[in-house]
Subunit: 392 residues, 2 copies
């Protein structure tokens, strides 16, 4: 393999030192540390002989002369981020491009997208580059302190966009950010889809009442409505779910939320994810139906609001096949296909060109946390799978 | 019947005008309006020929010369209170005492306890009078603005306590504050017990995780633990419950409470009430057992804290029998026995002497609200039942 694992790990640790906080990093988009990391990346790009390019959103490209694959991920982090989230994919791309520049091979360009982690909404750089949102609209977004994207990007941005037609496809290596590979003791996953997700907010309203003087049959208890709905949904999911379906009730709020008062209202989120859009739709139908049934049976008022829906993104079969073969070569029997349950820039880039991803394990599934980590052998296995898929 | 319903209603409305706010009243303990109401009551007591007495807690008594029954309730209100809560019982007592002073009969004394509604904890006057809490301890209690009871009671209090041995028993008329009588279309209830209550706070802790990347079998979801517990408790209650058992999950809090995060912890109250202390204990055992079973089955950590337990108070059988007979006389077939699901001063007074209560309906079960009301015919029925039980 022409890539150099020691050099790759050294670069990963060099990037880790920028915005370091204990074992983790603090590099939200357009902060001083983020910009320092992007400038450091540009220096590496120049050193290996690619042409650096900063686009209006602050995405950093390292462009090869010829038309070929684009590899990469992001170098910004969560406010309290792990050292590998985005960095692993960006530095693996850098190492593969460097190997090509040194030893020859097909043209390989690299990228670090800006604001993947969501200071201004999430996947911001790739969203605007892919045309899903205009720069004008994105510019009006504000972060949690009221700063607009337009103001923030003044500190680090260029004038021109990179033409996507330069690229034949995109591969994004990333940490899994979930427990599947770590639990199975496997080295790599090839991502065949980024799951779609839908979320609904449901509010049951009954009658707030004295918890001592209101007999059970005369109650219209919103929390009991919530419990009945959640139980019915679990039962229905036994037949509706696929292998990869997940559903989550993550947010619950009760009014007046006092132990001696029969609760008058309960509002809660229901979110579900799956690689198959038809299944997402079937679940939505079930959720709506069960909410109505519960409300009717318990004389509760029902309000539902559809918060968001994101269709699944299928990865490119040809790129996936190349990655499969490379994984079987590098880690025989130690890899699997896996849909991504989290969103990634590859979802946006798939609008422009064939796209695929590979995952390496997250120890204990931990991510978005200073404790995020991956065994070195798995980082290197991921690098080698990428190199093999790109270089053959 | 020697009592005068028109005079009784006129007095009720006179009291309603003190601290009036729309149809409701604002007379929390030791506020200007509360003190004005107590002074007004003292004037009525003097006018009918009883001896007024203010004790150190601000309880107002109207004392008859001989040993006999004590009748009454309270004249303080919730911060946004209904016009009948406490007032009905106090003015019904006043009217019965006046009838005795005018027409002869057994000695009847009356009382308005202080701070039934809980500016300083609830049932404060009767709690201290009954010896359950010392005046010194009560004095250190603070209201929601930081004022101590010791400071507040300086505005209205006397030097000496009334000797409970003056009284042969206590009857407290009150509004039901629940929907049972109103739903049944009945006029009066005779209270045979004030239910006991127990409350436990349960906290399930699992593992906070990404709602997209964490497969269902690898989740330790605290909200799903809560749902499973609540469902199991409902099922178990089908065999454990009595006719009068109620149970309530009124307070639920989830961490981190975000729709895209598998919830790491769920903390919730479980409260149950029943007139039978053995049943309260059996339910507590079931609650503890089901919480443990749920935690074990779902790999959740469990913490329970016993928040409070209050034993049931049985009303005096002889007084209850007198009230039963009076109710059947005044409202034949239009009354029932009912345990009180709410706490009342009669619970404390029962430590000192035989005690009983009667209820009149609350329209739509509404109380602790400006909209609280009772049909005049039912207010008068309650007065007549009290008069009949006391005077024969």
């Amino acid at each position: 393999m022409p890539v150099n694992p020691q050099r790759f790990l050294a670069d990963l640790h060099a990037l880790r030192s920028i915005g370091a906080d204990g074992p983790g990093v603090v590099r939200p988009a357009f902060t001083e540390a983020d910009i320092e990391a992007r400038k450091w990346l540009i220096a590496q790009i120049e050193e290996i002989g690619l042409t650096p390019h900063i686009d209006p959103l602050g995405d950093v490209f390292g462009l090869a002369d010829g038309r070929g694959l684009l590899l990469g991920s992001h170098t910004d982090s969560q406010p309290e981020g792990g050292w590998l989230d985005g960095a692993f994919g960006t530095i693996a791309a850098l190492e593969v491009a460097r190997a090509v520049m040194e030893d020859g091979g097909p043209p390989v360009s690299i990228v670090s997208f800006q604001d993947e982690e969501g200071r201004f909404g999430g996947l911001t750089g790739s969203t605007v580059w892919s045309g899903a949102v205009s720069l004008e609209d994105a510019d009006t977004r504000v972060d949690s302190t009221g700063v607009t994207l337009a103001d923030a990007r003044r500190a680090f941005s260029g004038d021109t966009w990179v033409d996507p037609d330069r690229f034949t496809g995109f591969i994004e290596p990333h940490i899994e950010q979930g427990p599947v590979l770590d639990t199975a003791g496997e080295a790599v996953a090839i991502v065949d889809a980024i799951v779609g997700a839908r979320e609904i907010t449901i509010a049951f309203s009954g009658q707030q009442n004295h918890a001592g003087t209101t007999p059970m049959p005369l109650r219209r208890d919103a929390v009991q409505g919530f419990v009945a709905f959640a139980t019915a949904l679990n039962e229905r999911m036994e037949t509706l779910r696929g292998d990869r379906t997940v559903w989550t009730i993550g947010e619950v709020s009760v009014t007046p939320n006092a132990s001696s008062i029969v609760p008058g209202s309960a509002t809660f989120s229901v979110q579900w994810r799956d690689p198959d859009d038809d299944r997402l739709a079937a679940i939505e139908e079930a959720v709506q139906e069960l909410a109505k049934e519960t409300a009717t049976a318990r004389d509760l008022d029902l309000e539902t609001s559809r918060y968001w829906a994101l269709p699944p993104t299928q990865m490119d079969p040809e790129l996936v096949a190349r990655l499969d073969a490379a994984a079987e070569d590098v880690a025989p029997g130690q890899w699997r296909r896996l849909p991504s349950g989290a969103l990634h820039d590859a979802m946006n880039v798939a609008r422009l060109m064939p796209a695929a991803m590979l995952f390496v394990p997250s120890i204990n599934g931990i991510s978005h946390d200073f404790a995020e980590d991956t065994a070195e052998e798995h980082l290197v296995a991921g690098l080698n799978v990428l190199a093999k898929a790109v270089l053959g």
